[in-house]
Amino acid sequence: MIFIYDASFEGFLTTVFSAYEQRCNNPKILKHHQFIESFFEESETVFTSQEKAKRVWKKLEKNCGKSGCNQIYRAFLSEIEGIENTLFQYIRHAMSSSKNITKDYAHPAVLEVVQTVKKVGREKHRMDAFVRFRKTRDGIYFATIEPDFNVLPLNVKHFKNRYADQKWCIYDLKRNYGIYYDLEKVNIVHLELPKNILQSSSEFFTSEEIEFQHLWKNYFDSTNIKSRKNVKLHQQHVPKRYWKYLSEKYL
């Protein structure tokens, strides 16, 4: 049986509810854009219901605790193909067990979820590190990113705590949404960004901005010890796909 949902987390939880309702042990859960009509399998489109999602979430909190729920949410944000099916098996295991199963690493679904959570956590941490703000002419510290996973919701707290006295915006170009802090709270925003936002400087950004990028690049070069050169290690820590957003690498 195939279940098609709207790609939201609540949608996924509603799907879990529907699968249980229909006593389906091995559902195939697909996001609506992943679905291609098939003659051989039955399919059902799930309509997201806040109420059903909440019921599932409450039950999960009871069975897996806060940390288990957090794991489910983080693994979901990975957007890895088929993660919904693994999560369903994880949830089934949690529902049928009398113990909290979050540490049952010898169970294939639990191990896969844990490993996915680790990947997501690493990507979240990378964004905490690799965001490079540029100050715009209207005084907003602005950064663009393209994380491998949808981690921006996880970054909100870190940046809000740290930059409480400046307006900032981090924009995910891949998923076309961003988080914007207006000195009060963090909101989700959708922007029409010019294509050359990465290269442009004088048009959008303050004149001192480019000076600081150069100072930073200078610092980055000066602090390197040539006789210890280790490019492999360097690239392992700062993979090439992130370079276009790091001023010390692209300048």
Partner: protein
């Protein structure tokens, strides 16, 4: 801001500070207050990595590289003919704030050459930290160097604004210090270290009674030793480290392979390789001491004054203590699990969690991430398949080396030859 001038100074003073390897930005617990700037309550963040593979988390600079001392191992030594520069206090403050706001750094690491006098230098360092905290409401990380010979009053003030303080003892042995830094006295390093340690203890005790007691150097103290500049043994380095961990409650001791920077005949000549493998082994031993429950005597002693270069120190220890193995991973306690070669603490915790649900077999362990190449000779699990041959330490080592790769492999030969030569010298 005169960017050109700042750029020039930054190049000189960052270049001079880069030999200090301390990069940690964690352990502070300093939270953002009153909607200020910065927060260093979380884990440390490495914002980028230089081409040598070292992390950049702090703006690491000297206030000045003018210095009245002439320590042979140091680039900023008085007799070295190099460009000198000095930052003004406000320049360092501005640079830190502008870099921090752009998310380039976790904070500031400020060291300095010693100009005029230790107190004069320390006073300037404290000024920078004080300005950042009081005028800029900055809660990011600050690591200040304690200047050897600085007065207790200044060290006290430094701890009120800095998250971490450090004095580098640099040379592990007293004799080495006398040879390479004749103007320096060990007492001068220890005095500020001691003052800070005592204040940390006092503030912690007060905090238990009065909750609003301000923070005092919340990320503790650290120090650094250069290895390979004198002919010290690994045992001398690590016993010194163990002493500082215990006596001065150091949060970290860093080991820095000597990078040849001078033609001084007392030191390895320019062009000599940086002892990267040795540095790596010392860090491994350090971790075993701090997180794996090993005592220093188990790793290094009279019979083994140096760490093996071809295998890691834990494996080396296990090979000397085969009578304690194999360990049953489904039954052994945490401490014993941590002693199995190829098991890191992460794997240990995973095993402890997972074995509550079922007995673990090789397949499970492999998936969890245990390095079975090393571990399998030292443990049994829920399987009839285990190492049944009665292997000697030497043959286990051979089997492991045959099945593993290391980028240091071709340096083993050289380093071993070096030791052979030493042995010859000793026997002659």
């Amino acid at each position: 801001m005169n960017y050109e001038r700042i750029k020039e100074k930054l190049n000189i003073l960052a270049d001079a500070a880069k030999y200090d390897v301390s990069c940690s930005s964690s352990g502070s617990k300093r939270k953002n207050t009153n909607k200020g700037l910065g927060d260093s309550s979380g884990s440390g963040i490495c914002h980028t990595y230089t081409e040598d593979g070292r992390c950049v988390s702090l703006l690491k600079i000297l206030l000045t590289n003018h210095c009245i001392f002439d320590c042979a191992y140091c680039v900023t030594r008085k007799s070295n003919d190099i460009k000198r520069a000095a930052f003004k206090v406000q320049e360092v403050v501005d640079l830190t704030i502008h870099f921090y706001r752009r998310n380039y750094i976790e904070g500031l690491f400020l060291s300095s050459g010693i100009f005029k006098s230790p107190d004069h230098t320390m006073e300037r360092l404290v000024q920078v930290a004080k300005k950042l905290r009081l005028e800029e409401n900055y809660n990011g990380y600050i690591h200040l160097k304690s200047i050897p010979g600085a007065s207790d009053e200044l060290m006290f003030e430094a701890g009120l604004y800095a998250d971490r303080l450090s004095v580098n003892i640099e040379i592990p042995t007293r004799e080495g210090l006398k040879l390479l830094a004749p103007d320096k006295d060990r007492k001068d390093f220890l005095q500020p270290m001691n003052k800070v340690k005592n204040e940390i203890i006092r503030y912690k005790a007060e905090k238990k009674i009065i909750k609003s007691t301000p923070k005092y150097a919340p990320a503790g103290q650290s120090t650094q030793m250069i290895v390979g500049a004198t002919n010290e043994t690994d045992a001398q380095v690590m016993y010194t480290a163990a002493y500082f961990y215990k006596k001065y409650q150091m949060k970290r001791v860093y080991y820095s392979g000597y990078i040849p920077i001078s033609y001084d005949p007392r030191l390895p000549s320019i062009g000599t390789d940086v002892p990267l493998l040795r540095e790596n082994r010392l860090y491994q031993a350090d971790w075993l001491m701090r997180f794996y429950g090993f005592s220093i005597e188990e790793l290094l002693n009279k019979e083994h004054p140096n760490l093996d270069s071809d295998v890691d120190p834990k494996l080396s220890w296990a090979l000397r203590n085969l009578h304690l193995f194999p360990v049953d991973v489904n039954k052994a306690d945490k401490q014993m699990l941590a002693r199995i070669p190829g098991l890191g603490m992460k794997s240990v915790y995973k095993i402890l969690g997972a074995r509550k649900y079922r007995n673990l077999n090789w397949e499970h362990l492999k998936k969890i991430g245990v390095a079975l190449n090393r571990a399998r000779y030292f443990m049994v699990c829920d399987s009839r398949d285990f190492e049944k041959r009665d292997l000697s330490a030497a043959s286990i080592k051979n089997l492991i080396l045959q099945n593993s790769q290391s980028k240091f492999r071709n340096t083993y030969g050289n380093q071993l030859n070096l030791f052979d030569k030493h042995d010859q010298l000793i026997s002659i």
